[in-house]
């Protein structure tokens, strides 16, 4: 057994992680994941140690609630056997390691660049000449979309291979949003800078990434969190979930040209984000989550106000949702559109809503609970069909579920016990990992410190990292005109992927 079991938000010494040679590292991790539905890879990355690369693999076990961490030292001279032919979920991770360090993986089906990071190994490869797949045929044609899209959204390039109106294949090329954020975590030394950076990983998941950073940092510093801090975090993350789900419902209505739904859901997001502004001064909750502190203590007055906001929000939301889900013209666009099978979701390592819509039970709130989730006893909402309809249904039901959780939470506002004292310096030579269920799904942050306790490596994994492949699979054999609704029903993050 060459791995160490840790819990979510636990810090261990780097030297405690058992190291093995690549062959046994490979066999062990393969055996851990292959055929075990309850286990999946939450992070797999490398960092430089002298001229060598140290790989760290983190496999989460949902039934025992622990994370199996193992490590292995390799260098560029090695050609490593790829996990991907057996476990497709390692596909992106291996491409990332290849892009960053030039390590070759044997038998990887498409060892293509991930995001054209500024510190990539091979600078001769540029984003303008990404090696797309293509098919030579007189009957097929290619459609290229992006990087700039028609609406106000982030950039990415989609290349379709179509037979008439039907999509045979979609390849998604990202990297346009790459800002070098992981490197900035090391370069920016002030805690406030890092907390602000975490909020900018994906501006639509400010709270999710904010909590992941706060937890990883507090764990490294040995900070004992208090109930009022975790209360605020739990509450904020459920509010963010409501706001974004409602916003996505509006987007789905827009993409099927259902004006009433688009306007009503669009406006229903406002009371929720305006409430976040009343609480913390920013509509997207930037500045609300800070490591070691309860920046904007939640009060009884705020609780009463939130109850009132929800009292008005709920009937309007329910009325619109009932109408949408009984509207034949809407349902005919949602049902059987953009299907991802249960088997495919497992093989690509889907997380969050993308997993749950295919009846794959992955939700960090139950499998590796944090903050106040252990006492909420969250029951994940699962759907079976894996189509646009399932994704929309999950959103509707999760909004209702989040409202129920929030009402329960704010019925008892905790007394402020956190004092906001300065955090200690991080433990030297340590490794810490934090998992958070953002509204899209599982967010994983890993931090490594050097001998002086300085941050040495910071690794961020947004749920979109593995999930983008689900979009590519879902549109196969669909009409190209259904691409927008497929895309919107997933609503993955570009900046969270490109970092």
């Amino acid at each position: 057994m060459n791995y160490i079991n840790i819990k979510n938000n636990q810090t261990i010494l780097l030297s405690e992680i058992p190291e093995s040679n690549y062959e046994s590292f490979y066999d062990m991790n393969l055996e851990l994941v292959l055929g075990h539905l309850n286990r999946h890879c939450v992070n797999y990355f490398g960092y430089k140690v002298g001229n060598n690369i140290k790989l760290i693999c983190c496999i989460a076990d949902d039934s025992t609630h622990d994370i199996k961490v193992s490590t292995c030292l390799v260098n560029k001279a090695h050609t490593l056997e790829s996990f991907t032919p057996q476990l497709l979920c390692f596909e992106k991770f291996e491409r990332e390691i290849h892009e960053n360090f030039g390590i070759d993986f044997l038998n990887h089906p498409w060892l293509k660049p991930v995001r054209y990071a500024f510190n990539r190994y091979d600078k001769s490869q540029t984003i303008a000449n990404y090696p797309f797949f293509s098919i030579d045929s007189e009957e097929l044609h290619e459609v290229g979309v992006g990087p700039i899209h028609a609406g106000i959204i982030e950039p990415g390039h989609f290349r379709f291979i179509c037979n008439g109106e039907q999509i045979l294949h979609l390849e998604i090329q990202l990297g346009y949003q790459h800002r070098g954020i992981e490197q900035l975590f090391i370069e920016k030394k002030k805690l406030l800078q890092r907390a602000t950076l975490a909020e900018a990983i994906a501006g639509d998941t400010v709270i999710g990434h904010g909590i992941a950073f706060a937890h990883v940092w507090e764990s490294l510093c040995g900070f004992e969190t208090t109930r009022d801090i975790e209360f605020s975090r739990t509450l904020a993350s459920e509010l963010e979930r409501i706001a974004m789900h409602v916003s996505d419902l509006s987007g789905a209505c827009t993409d099927i040209a259902y004006q009433l739904g688009s306007s009503v859901f669009g406006r229903l997001r406002t009371p929720i984000i305006n409430y976040l502004q009343e609480w913390g001064g920013n509509r997207l909750a930037k500045g609300l989550i800070r490591p070691g502190r309860n920046q904007f203590p939640f009060t009884q007055v705020l609780a009463d106000r939130l109850n009132k906001v929800l009292d008005i929000f709920e009937p309007d939301f329910n009325e619109m949702a009932e109408k949408l889900f009984a509207l034949p013209s809407a349902l005919s666009r949602f049902e059987h559109t953009g299907i991802v099978s249960h088997e495919d979701a497992i093989s690509i390592g889907a997380v969050g809503m993308t997993a749950r819509m295919t009846n794959l039970n992955r939700d960090i709130r139950t499998s590796h609970p944090y903050s106040l989730y252990p006492e909420i006893h969250h029951v994940p909402i699962l759907k079976r069909h894996g189509d646009v309809y399932s994704r929309i249904q999950i959103r509707k039901e999760e909004v209702k579920q989040s409202i129920a959780y929030i009402r329960k939470l704010i019925s008892e506002v905790p007394v402020q016990t956190s004092k906001g004292e300065l955090l200690k310096t991080p433990e030297p030579g340590s490794f810490s990992l934090s998992l958070v269920e953002g509204w899209r799904g599982e967010i994983c942050h890993c931090a490594l410190t050097d001998k002086k306790g300085e941050l040495m490596h910071y690794k961020i994994k947004d749920p979109s990292f593995h999930n983008w492949l689900a979009l590519a699979l879902s549109v196969r054999n669909n009409e190209i005109s259904d691409f927008p609704i497929c895309n919107k029903s997933f609503n993955f993050s570009y900046s969270g992927h490109d970092l």
Binding site: H178, R283, G287
Partner: protein, 269 residues
Amino acid sequence: MRKELVVGSNKQEKNKRKAMLENLKIVFHNGKQFIPNVRTATVPGIFRGRPIISGEKVNEAELIDLCPTDAISVNPVSIDLGKCTFCGECALRFPEKITFTKDYKLATNIPDRLVIREGEDKPVEVDPEKVRKEIHRVLGRSLKLRQISAGGDNSCEMELNAANNVMFDMSRFGIDFVASPRHADGIVITGPITVNMAEAVQICYDATPEPKIIVLVGTDAISGGLFAGSKAIDRSFLDKYPVDLYIPGNPAHPLTIVNGLLDLTRKLK
């Protein structure tokens, strides 16, 4: 014959009527959501808008050190809204020195107006003298914009979308976002402009017909924010062309956006 047809579709007619009534109910229950006057509307709760800096003496070294983006400088103490991430940390730590007001009108065409100095309590405004003449004449009644996210984190993008929802309803002023630069009167950039997006930004700008404007939305776009100095950023595009409007915020509030665009394109009465 005619009569039979009507009888045959009676059930359908009923269903249609029922559906229409339901729609009307929804419309009725949602009520009037639009903000009648976007110039004078107030924002709820605590909002971090234009800061005011008092003459109070504080430990200035500590104050400067606090700011994550070096937006605060001294002699006199001032905050550059183009760099400020509006985290509000300075106001929390030095409440006697710095307060953020609920004034959301932060947009200007003069970079120096983004700097708020000690003892100042005047609104941030667009200087009509400095606005290019053709902007008022050509774009004063209709403004079509192409948005480019160049490393934006999707927060400013969402607020730009919100500026066009039923509440802020920017299109009532003839301001819209269009799908092609060929249809646009200018570009709106969010994000610090990444190396990987630099070429696309240039191509999009080149494809926009003259006269055209450049609008920067959000701290990241105006100064690079926390990403200034990152090797993955290439801001050389902004050295080449004049910027017509800066809309600060992290993200910029829809009211900041709407008011900024109106101030730029309409002659102030």
